[in-house]
């Protein structure tokens, strides 16, 4: 092992290896952090989507990309009745509430959507609410009223009558300056107020309201078409990609190596059979088989991993390992091992394989990104794991929602960036290792 450690020490002389190691360390750190912060079940649950994401905007880009381009797009603002000063006025058989929801709007662009969520639990007779919108310059616009069922929402953006009245889409028209025309609307900044006049027919029953001005930007990663925060997928993609790449690379390299060593050691028909099987395997197309397994059985990432390893057992690498192992078979130290009575398994596992391991390390490291990209490729074809969030699946979603056409570039760029980072990290380290471990490259 002395050679191994001195070789590793030599890595310090290669800047690309240092950068590569840094990237890998970052990715491993991110993976560990992700698994700790968002446990597995939690991640699956979040990625399934649904009502838990109701306060998130649709297709919002990351905050930093907007700020970098000099934009002032709004983030999501949520105003809850819990923080408001509610005026109560009791009357016979009920209560009249006046809830002012104040929001200070200073962004340079309109919100992407406006919704009011109600939570009226435990009412026998449904309460009635009337909404009035007040702009900073004192204009008042009634937004209509309605009965509120237990968990209700009022989508102001989709109020067609209001749109007709304003001449603009409601979430733009309500926040625009008075002289705004369609196509040329400017934001009026300042404090807006949505007053809810609610008549409740019971005392002591809950009534809560939330006004949500959905933003156009969100967090570090933005959101997708199902309002999911892409950060979940980007973060969880890291452990999944690393695990898939590492397991597939370990699985194929180790099995291939053992088979090659067995063939070389026993020679004769064993060797011949292994050689022929390798040639047969070369004819079998890997990707179409994976696509078939994916469409017919399941697209579980672990099943795919199994198939990749199974098909990789007799891969073309055997030929290369065989060429390296053949001279070792005749080496005097193997002779010595036989002389003391070492068995076949012992010679193969303890004497032959360790001898060529160092030469394999670079190949192994450069194999990892190949498998990471294989997983992404399958996901892009629509055969990603059904439940796990992965980078490839984000790309696939983006592609099927025509993200590029709709100019949601972040949706494609951020998973692609992480994929590229992984590929580069391992490849840079692998290339440096190759120059260290490969004796013929060493002198160059």
């Amino acid at each position: 092992m002395g050679r191994l450690s001195s070789a590793l020490a030599e890595l310090r002389n290669y800047p690309s290896a240092i950068i590569g190691l840094g990237i890998i360390a970052f990715l491993v750190g991110l993976a560990v952090y992700t698994v700790v912060v968002i446990p597995y079940d939690d991640a699956l649950d979040k990625w399934r989507g649904g009502d838990q994401w109701r306060l998130y905007p649709v297709n919002a880009s990351p905050v930093w990309s907007d700020r970098l381009l000099g934009g002032q797009a709004p983030e999501t603002k949520v105003v809850s009745s819990r923080d408001a000063e509610i005026e109560r006025e009791a009357f016979e058989g009920g209560e009249r509430l006046s809830i002012p929801l104040r929001v200070d709007f200073q962004a340079g662009d309109f919100p992407s959507e406006m919704t009011v969520f109600f939570d009226a639990d435990g009412h026998e007779r449904e309460p009635f609410a009337r909404l009035v919108w007040r702009t900073p310059d004192g204009r008042e616009m009634p937004l209509g009223g309605s009965r509120i069922s237990r968990q209700d929402r009022m989508s102001i953006s989709q109020d067609r009558a209001l749109e007709q009245r304003l001449g603009l889409v409601p979430h733009i028209g309500l926040l625009a300056t008075p002289d705004s025309e369609p196509g040329d609307a400017r934001v009026q900044t300042g404090e807006y107020e949505l007053t809810l006049d609610v008549i409740v027919f019971e005392e002591n029953a809950d009534f809560e309201a939330e006004l949500v001005l959905y933003g156009r930007v969100h967090g570090l990663a933005g959101t997708d078409h199902q309002r999911r925060d892409l950060m979940v997928a980007l973060m969880w993609g890291t452990p999944v990609a690393l695990a898939f790449g590492l397991l597939a690379a370990v699985g194929t390299t180790i099995t291939t190596l053992i088979i090659a060593a067995t063939g070389v050691w026993f020679g004769g028909w064993v060797d011949a059979t292994i050689q022929r099987l390798t040639e047969v395997n070369m004819i079998l197309p890997l990707l179409p088989i994976l696509v078939m397994v994916g469409t017919l059985y399941s697209t579980s990432i672990w099943l795919m991993l199994g198939v990749v390893v199974a098909l990789g057992i007799f891969s073309a690498g055997i030929k290369m390992y065989r060429a390296m192992l053949l001279p070792i078979r005749q080496a005097p130290y193997i002779e010595a091992a036989r002389a003391y009575g070492a068995g076949n398994t012992r010679i193969i596992l303890r004497y032959m394989i360790p001898r060529i391991l160092p030469v394999l390390i670079p190949t192994f490291v450069t194999l990892i990104p190949t498998f990471v990209f294989l997983e992404a490729s399958l996901a892009v074809l629509g055969l990603g794991d059904p439940v796990l969030p992965t980078w490839g699946k984000v790309l696939n979603d983006a592609q099927s929602e025509s993200a590029l056409y709709s100019q949601y570039y972040y949706w494609v760029l951020s998973p692609a960036f992480l994929l590229m980072l992984t590929g580069l990290g391992f490849a840079m380290l692998g290339f440096a290792l190759d120059r260290i471990f490969n004796p013929r490259l060493r002198t160059l």
């Binding site: 040639e279 004819i283 990707l287 088989i289 397994v293 570039y409 590929g423």
Partner: protein
């Protein structure tokens, strides 16, 4: 006299060698194709799926046809059953799979690819052969152009870099080599983003605009325009790694003693390159060239998907979606034959280029 005997011995050995290799390759193809047939059936799962599909389609057809409206439900069910039986017989699903598999194998080995079950070519032909041949030019055009460009550029640049080993150019190529860790479709996405959306000057996919131009010259130019991005994607993803590996390869060979000797003699660089570096390394170069040529044929499912290119990769993807076994098997059979042919050609070329293999004997 001795020369003639030597020649004869050479030919005899070459013949024996050829015969052995042919036999081995034939067996390889046989086993490989049979395995593909087994895999394409997925342990009977595909048959089950197709039975369900036939049942559904036939009953829908009968129920939807006004001519059968006034039949009693018994009569109608009998009709459906009859139609299903006919369809099952047409697809030969009534025979056990093992029997069918040998029949598939026999016909595949004779390159009789049979008829597709669901798919048809754009001209309406059901023959697997026609379907494949129709897609072949698109794949060959795209992948041929890209790979030939990569191959010749990389060998040429690598040769000149190995001469100027250690220069800034050389070092930047080494530094850029890891960028090839990403496959071509990945660069494709970026290129589409850049040149089809941010700066919309090139089409984002497809092979020719719709409707296709009448004039053959314009047609060609339009195809060229559509090819630009996918070719560039493949070029970007492969060029640096190929330059890097060829450069290393040439460097190793240019440090051989006989090359040093030639240099010491004062031979001109060009001559050393041609006679002392390229000639002895000809067999690996030819190998990688031929292997590249077969790589062409299989195309790339994903790159074609990303660029919406109507080639073989897309065909295979569609065939898997339609569970059209003959098309899947047909594509793989042709691939297997081409691979075997290439391997065989390589063996012969080796024997001709490198006397050690031919004369080494056993």
């Amino acid at each position: 006299m001795t020369a003639a005997v030597g020649m004869q011995r050479d030919f005899r050995r070459l013949g024996l060698f050829t015969g052995k290799r042919l036999l081995a390759l034939f067996l390889t193809i046989l086993v490989g194709v049979y395995l593909t047939i087994l895999i394409a059936n997925m342990g009977g799962r595909v048959d089950d799926l197709r039975m369900v599909q036939i049942q559904g389609e036939v009953s829908e057809m009968v129920r939807g046809d006004p001519a059968f409206q006034d039949m009693s439900s018994e009569e109608r069910n009998a009709l459906i059953q009859r139609q299903v039986d006919l369809e099952v017989e047409r697809l030969r699903l009534d025979q056990p799979f093992i029997l069918r598999s040998f029949d598939y194998l026999y016909r595949a080995m004779l390159l009789d690819l049979g008829r597709a079950e669901q798919m048809h070519s754009d001209t309406g032909s059901r023959q697997v052969y026609n379907i494949i041949v129709e897609r072949l030019p698109a794949t060959l055009l795209l992948f041929g152009t890209a790979n030939l460009l990569v191959f010749f550029f990389s060998v040429y640049i690598a040769l000149s870099l190995s001469r100027r080993y250690g220069s800034a150019m050389d070092r930047s190529v080494i530094a850029l080599a890891p960028s090839s860790a990403a496959p071509a479709w990945f660069y494709g996405i970026f290129l589409i983003l850049l040149f089809a959306f941010v700066v919309p000057i090139l089409p984002s996919g497809g092979m020719v605009q719709a409707p296709p131009p009448e004039n053959p010259l314009h047609y060609g130019l339009d195809v060229l325009r559509h090819m630009l991005l996918p070719v560039l994607a493949m070029f970007l993803s492969q060029i640096f790694i190929s330059i890097y590996s060829w450069r290393t390869f040439f460097l190793i060979h240019s440090s051989e003693d006989y090359v040093e000797m030639a240099r010491a003699k004062g031979l001109p660089d060009k001559l050393i390159e041609r006679r002392y570096i390229l000639r002895p390394t000809l067999s690996p170069i030819v190998t990688s060239f031929l292997l590249m040529l077969i790589g062409l044929w299989s195309g790339a499912i994903i790159l074609e998907q990303v660029f919406n290119w109507p080639g073989l990769g897309t065909l295979l993807f569609q065939a898997i979606g339609h569970r059209d076994t003959p098309v899947i098997i047909g594509s793989v059979v042709i691939f297997a034959y081409l691979l075997a042919l290439t391997v065989f050609l390589l063996d012969i070329l080796y024997a001709i280029l490198d006397p050690r293999i031919r004369l080494g004997g056993d």
